[in-house]
Amino acid sequence: MSALELRDVVVRIPSDDERPARTILEVPSLRLDEPRIGVLGANGSGKSTLLRLLNGLQEPSSGTVTVHGRDTRREGRAVRAEVGFVFTDPLSQLVMPTGREDLELSLRRTVPRKERRTRAEEILRRFGLLHLADQSVYELSGGERQLMALASVLAVEPRVLVLDEPSTLLDLRNRELLRRTLSGLPQQIVLATHDLELVLDMERVLVVEDARVVFDGGAEAAVAHYRRLCLAERA
């Protein structure tokens, strides 16, 4: 059984008053088994749609997406328990006033009430965030917020971690911190990014262009392909 599998997947947006119906992603067949997978692509190319399919946030218009054999459409809840999703903007992701409260929220479904606080503290300590546990999420730096969001997602121990441009809002120091943290995680990682350095850490990289996967291979070759695509567009 493949970890993540897409079969004959098409995602369409129906027509409205201003625009006709259009396809925003088309993937005939894709199996993702490698522990570290990167996704490159321009804005609007379809890479975020591809990521959202893996967590069931986006349902395919046709075709199937399975995660460890579970259909994202029929077993969405179980899939979301297995696939953690980290967004670009951690402020959208952190839905509680402080990091500790957000972690406790993540643990509500899986950990009995009396153990939540201790478990939340263990996770915060592991990420070096315990000293920020009771600070408002508004008062954290960009990197601290992103790590807090990551800790909240990892609190429920997903088997797969999907990250949609997690380093876009970070400065160089925080980007490096995120990079080091990700490299030490046991989860399978699927990561969309514009950060070409970060993508070089991946074992397999997909390049998405005009709603299709146009390249699938090693990181260096993928970056070269992506550069050629971008430069060809400019020319």
Binding site: N55, L57, R74, E75, G76, R77, A78, R80, A81, G84, F85, F87, D89, L91, S92, Q93, V95, M96, P97, T98, E101, E104, L105, S106, R108, R109, T110, V111, P112, R113, R116, R117, D134, S136, Y138, E139, S152, V153, V156
Partner: protein
């Protein structure tokens, strides 16, 4: 985005008697005060209740600055209400209405400032459990309340950022330039929050096709 903060939804750690008071008692107090203000018609009684709330605030050692921020937040709106009611009903009624609203705000803040959000969620889930019979999901209800509290500082921050942007473009007197971006940003925030909750499986309905892996009832 401005990080302007309104203190209604923020828990302040502490050891005061209000921090230690049971959630049910605090909630009942807020409820009774809220209902009681409907019967308060004399401006003197309303101001006395507001003063009592301020004393309770001080006794919980929540800080004078925090109280001022709490009162200053809705001040422009309540000033407009005061002027309008003064014109419509006279000064006594106008002062009574505004003092009642302020008393309710301070009372609600006493509950949220002295109760950690997880404890508030647990309390709402326990209190709403009987509503399961009529199809209400207590977990979802608690989540709605928590998200509402979390959204207050964000929306106030959005309002400040939009006001600054309008000022920078010389449009501070244009209500459309101030209202529309706030509305759009609020809807976008709601969508992002919804996405984040869905991605974390929070608020998902439990169905035979979507079984839970819950190990706890609360």
């Amino acid at each position: 985005m401005s990080t302007a903060r309104y203190p209604l939804g923020d828990y302040v750690p502490g050891e005061s008697w209000l921090h230690r008071a049971p959630l049910g008692v605090k909630f009942l107090g807020v409820l009774l005060l809220g209902l009681g203000t409907f019967w308060l018609k004399s401006w003197g009684a309303s101001v006395a209740v507001l003063a009592l709330m301020v004393l309770l605030f001080a006794s919980a050692r929540l800080g004078a600055r925090r109280l001022l921020r709490l009162l200053a937040g809705p001040a422009p709106l309540l000033l407009a209400v005061l002027v309008f009611q003064w014109w419509q009903l006279g000064p006594a009624q106008a002062v009574s209405i505004v003092a009642n609203v302020y008393a309710c705000i301070v009372a609600a803040s006493l509950l949220t400032l002295t109760t950690p959000v997880p404890a508030l969620l647990d309390g709402v889930v326990s209190a709403a459990r009987p509503l399961k019979r009529i199809g209400v999901d207590p977990e979802r209800l608690a989540l709605v309340i928590a998200i509402t509290l979390r959204s207050i500082p964000y929306l106030i921050g959005t309002f400040s950022a939009v006001r600054d942007a309008a000022r920078a473009r010389g449009l501070e007197r244009n209500p459309r330039a101030r209202a529309m971006p706030v509305l759009i940003a609020s809807v976008a925030y709601a969508q992002r929050t919804g996405d984040a909750l869905a991605a974390r499986g929070l608020g998902d309905a439990v169905t035979p096709e979507n079984p839970t892996r819950d190990r706890t009832a609360s």
